[in-house]
């Protein structure tokens, strides 16, 4: 039940804050903030409880299931393991911060804004928790529509174009995924006689290799669009740039992560052999993203666009690591998801704060801001260093682990990916140079970080440092999960396809619904 609450809390927060906005705007903001903090508290409590008492049987900490439409084998099935837990913590953390960051920025239709923001969070929480593919597709859609409004209503100048592009890209990917889900559902039904959308049943679906490849591609396209990887990344710079600050933070920090999560949770376990076959191509896409994204980032004149392209580059590491098929890279990928969420989220918040002060995103119109705003400069420096992978900060751990892992899988790709680190240094330092150093042409004073901004930045700095210095907090939590994937080495990949997977849920009330 506790898992259901995690989804319901932001959902009710969304409705309440919308209703409250008719009375008072401040109340609406507070409700949104408090509900997300409640969610964060709940998740943290679960985390702490679990760290003290490591679950003995399997790595599924919680499992909750209710039949919904038994005729089609659809049930409400939520389950949580270390990966979900970590991602949920990130979700509520960044969610609460994005309410704070829009405290002053959003003045137009504030109630509806918070409704949408919290509904995106609801969708994301649902995506990280649900173990029924039907429900997963539903939450995938739930994330999409409020995000469309966030960009389309509160965005910058070209918002409608960006919102439409975002919608079309992700929806097209989502529909392909729906096709693949239905295909998997029917193939499972035809081969085993059990029609079900349940993740744990579909895990060991017997199917032909060619079929598995097509279905795998269906899933992969949806996730790769969201991630985004190279040929499908064009929606990202537009959406990130035009979105309001909170929208950019949620997009970069959370929405992209659902793509990565989907790969880890669905593509690799559901189609181990097929994804193993596809691995070199996926890694190639990843490396292309790292290099090309980095290069594009370097040449952007617009600060938000620059940061957006760094996401393309950083998410390339995710693709590279996920398809390396070993534990080290896998852990690195999860670390990268968290660290990138924090660091890029922070950079977008800084870009938003700068925009609030100077009403421009053009790098050429900034410069020489350090004397005026030393505190903000320092904070920016920390996150820029994180973004370029400085040891001691979270991103370094992540990228280092991914590279170590992928070296075992593919030497050439890893070497190419390492070049990406150099590019990252170049574009990251460019941010500092163009914004904070150089000559200032401004005559007017700019306020440094205010109390609210300190409240936002301080936790982010603490977390990114913590991740860099003591990554074990995250790594220890997810440690159980990847054992299932690491069994697929090159040698036993064909055998792995037929292997018996024990449903890793200790709960005996695990009932399946047979379609007649």
């Amino acid at each position: 039940m506790v898992l259901l609450y995690i989804i319901l809390i932001p959902m009710f927060g969304a409705l309440l804050s919308w209703l409250a906005s008719a009375r008072s705007i401040a109340l609406c903001r507070w409700i949104a903030l408090v509900s997300l903090l409640c969610g964060l508290l709940l998740v943290t409590a679960l985390w702490a409880g679990n760290a003290a008492d490591p679950t003995p049987a399997g790595h599924w900490m919680y499992n909750w299931q209710q039949p919904w439409i038994p005729h089609f084998g659809i049930s409400l099935h939520l389950a949580m393991d270390g990966l979900s837990l970590v991602m949920l913590a990130l979700t509520f953390f960044l969610g609460a911060l994005s309410v704070l960051i829009s405290w002053r920025e959003i003045k137009y239709k504030t109630g509806f804004f918070h409704f949408n923001l919290l509904f995106v969070i609801t969708g994301i929480a649902g995506v990280f928790l649900t173990m029924g593919l039907f429900l997963f597709y539903f939450f995938w859609g739930v994330m999409l529509i409020p995000m469309y409004f966030l960009i389309g209503i509160w965005g910058h100048e070209r918002r409608e174009y960006a919102a439409y592009k975002f919608f079309i890209f992700t929806q097209a990917g989502g529909l392909l995924m729906l096709l693949a889900i239905l295909g998997l559902y029917f193939i499972h039904g035809a081969n085993t006689g059990v029609y079900t959308f349940d993740y744990f049943y579909l895990l060991n679906t017997p199917m032909e290799r060619a079929v598995a490849q097509w279905l795998m591609l269906g899933f992969l396209v949806a996730f790769v669009v969201k991630l985004p990887a190279i040929p499908f990344h064009t929606w990202l710079p537009d959406a990130h740039t035009e979105a309001p600050t909170a929208g950019s933070v949620v997009l970069a920090g959370l929405l992209l992560k659902t793509g990565a999560y989907g790969i880890l949770r669905f593509v690799l376990p559901l189609f181990p052999a097929a994804s193993h076959d596809f691995a070199p191509w996926a890694m190639l896409l990843g490396v292309a993203g790292i290099l090309y994204g980095g290069q594009l980032a370097y040449s952007q004149p617009d600060l938000k666009r620059l940061i957006a392209y760094t996401s393309v580059s950083h998410m390339g590491f995710v693709l590279l690591g996920a398809f390396a098929f070993n534990e080290l890279a896998y852990k690195g990928v999860v670390m990268q998801m968290i660290a990138h969420g924090i660091s890029t989220g922070a950079l977008f918040m800084i870009a938003g704060a700068l925009y609030e002060r100077m009403h421009t995103r053009e790098l050429s119109r900034m410069g020489g801001l350090w004397p005026a705003m030393p505190a903000m400069g320092t904070v920016t420096m920390i996150f820029v260093m994180a973004s370029l992978g400085l040891p001691g900060l979270g991103n370094f751990v992540a990228e280092f682990m991914i590279l170590l892992g992928s070296w075992q899988a593919n030497h050439i790709m890893t070497i190419l990916a390492t070049i990406g680190l150099v590019i990252a240094t170049v574009y990251s330092l460019r941010i500092m140079q163009k914004v904070f150093f150089g000559q200032s042409e401004r005559q007017y004073a700019l306020p440094d970080l205010g109390l609210r901004e300190w409240l936002i930045m301080a936790p982010l700095v603490v977390v990114i440092l913590w991740l860099g210095v003591y990554p074990q907090t995250v790594l220890g939590t997810i440690t159980n999960y990847e054992l299932r994937i690491t069994t697929f080495n090159k040698e036993d990949a064909p055998r792995a396809e037929k292997r018996k997977v024990v449903i890793p849920v200790s709960d005996s009330s695990f009932v399946i619904n047979h379609a007649p």
Partner: protein, 479 residues
């Protein structure tokens, strides 16, 4: 005629009786409100009288009609939809200048025709029901005479419907002439016995298919649909889109079943091609429409195509899928027209996409209702439309018609685009000072009705199990 016969025809008698009553009332005292209530009560009684019939099933009144589970379920759906349409009608006609009372009379008669159709198992009752339906519709479609496009729509429907009836009649004559039977099982028995398919019978079936295809509005007999939808009064358009098509579809199912249509591959192929063509033509033409009535017309062509996919699967789950889809589609479609009705002013109908620009910011409630209807039509999860579409896919898989399914999926994607376009338009922010929008009437009764429909649709989408169980019990055709 026994008591059971009377009881089993309860819904039909109620509606017909009300028609007579209305006729007398109009002669004695013209009063819109009175007639409205009489009609409303008649529909409510008819809906209630469906319940006791369930104890008598299956009941045959030889040779013309048969009341089985299947017929009863569809009678209920038709009467229920009729009730909703009546509820939405009052304000729409109250605001318009013409004499209103005969509308209810014609609506009752048309509904009676549809009720005859769903229980008919004989060419006589089939044709009788169809003509009752069509002739009432001639009047209904052209009802608001003073309107610009009303006459055009009425005349168009009159000519085309009369022509298609002629085709149907000639086809029936051919079939009768060579098989010697007018009852469906008799024709089926003859064909099985003969083993061959004489050419005139094939020709007869072909001609009948033209007649039926016209009423269903499937490609290539769909040309009338957009003009009629555009020209007819909105409640009538809702009627044409739902009850009129549903009734004919039920006869088609029964006829196909009774003559053993599954044994004739050619018949299957003709219908399959029609289905695919309907989906593509409907959806592709809907893409560019700026008029929502026309868009709904084309989308209903496509929806008939989806329904035919389930029909062609020729399985029990196909039948269930049709029943569920109709249960979802009737309220959705009526609800969509209902939104148009409440949004229309006494001066003009709110029919172009532009009329709905930024609606959410002006009338959030109506915009939300319309969004639910459109999402249900598009088949988005958590609405009845999604479950309906999923049911159809299940049926198609049961029948192993993968190609048809692929076409259906592709079309769902195309369909998504134009439904979402309207939804996006409603949420678009606008500078309201520069534009003059239609001043909607927003009647209370209409809004309550729409609220109920939304609850029904979301209820069916979130918890469809109860309805599925009911349908599984009800979908037994008499053999």
């Amino acid at each position: 005629m026994t008591f059971e016969d009377l009881l089993s025809l309860g819904p039909l008698f109620n509606i017909c009786g009300a028609a007579v009553l209305c006729m007398l009332l109009v002669a004695i005292w013209r009063n819109h409100r009175l007639i409205y209530y009489v009609t409303l009560v008649a529909f409510a009684l008819a809906l209630m009288s469906v319940v006791p019939v369930a104890t008598l099933l299956p009941h045959t009144i030889a040779p013309l009609v048969v009341i089985d589970m299947f017929a009863l379920f569809n009678s209920g759906a038709i009467v229920g939809s009729g009730l909703i349409i009546v509820l939405l009608s009052y304000n729409y006609f109250e605001e318009r200048e013409e004499r209103k009372e005969e509308y209810y009379l014609l609506l009752l008669l048309a509904t009676a025709g549809a009720l005859v159709l769903v229980i008919s198992r004989h060419f006589m009752s089939f044709f009788l029901g169809l003509e009752m339906l069509s002739i009432s519709l001639y009047g209904l479609i052209a009802y608001l005479r003073a309107r610009q496009r009303s006459d055009e729509a009425g005349i168009k429907y009159l000519i085309l419907a009369a022509l298609s009836s002629a085709f149907l009649l000639f086809g029936m004559a051919l079939v009768y002439g060579f098989t010697g039977h007018m009852d469906f099982p008799g024709i089926g028995a003859y064909l099985r016995q003969a083993g061959t398919f004489p050419l005139p019978v094939i020709a007869g079936f072909g001609l009948m298919l033209i007649g039926i295809g016209f009423k269903l509005g499937i490609v290539p007999f769909h040309m009338w649909a957009p003009d009629i939808y555009e020209g007819a009064p909105l409640p009538v358009a809702a009627f044409v889109a739902t009850i009129s098509k549903g009734g004919v579809l039920v006869v088609l199912i029964r006829f196909y079943q009774d003559i053993g249509g599954r044994n004739y591959t050619m018949l299957w192929w003709i219908l399959a091609i029609t289905s695919i063509a309907s989906m593509f033509v409907g959806n592709l033409l809907a893409l560019t429409q700026q008029n929502i009535k026309r868009m709904l017309a084309y989308s209903s062509i496509a929806h008939l195509g989806y329904l035919l996919v389930a029909f062609l699967s020729d399985t029990q789950s196909g039948l269930e899928a049709i029943a569920f889809y109709l249960t979802a589609y009737f309220p959705t479609s009526i609800g969509a027209f209902g939104v148009l009705i409440v949004m229309s002013s006494s001066v003009q109908d709110a029919e172009t996409v532009e009329d709905y620009r930024g609606l959410f910011w002006r009338y959030p409630w109506v915009a939300l209702v319309f969004t639910v209807m459109l999402l249900s039509l598009a088949g988005i999860p958590l609405t009845a439309g999604f479950i309906g579409k999923f049911y159809i896919v299940m049926a198609g898989v049961d029948g192993h018609h993968w190609f048809l399914l692929l076409m259906l999926v592709i079309n769902s994607v195309i369909g998504l685009y134009y439904y979402i376009r309207v939804v996006a338009m409603m949420f678009r922010t606008t500078d309201t000072s520069q534009r003059i929008f239609i001043k909607p009437s927003l009647p209370l009764a209409g809004n309550i009705t729409l609220g109920l429909i939304v609850m029904l649709l979301v209820g069916l989408g979130v918890y469809p199990t109860a309805m599925m169980q009911l349908i599984q019990q009800m979908m037994t055709l008499i053999k």
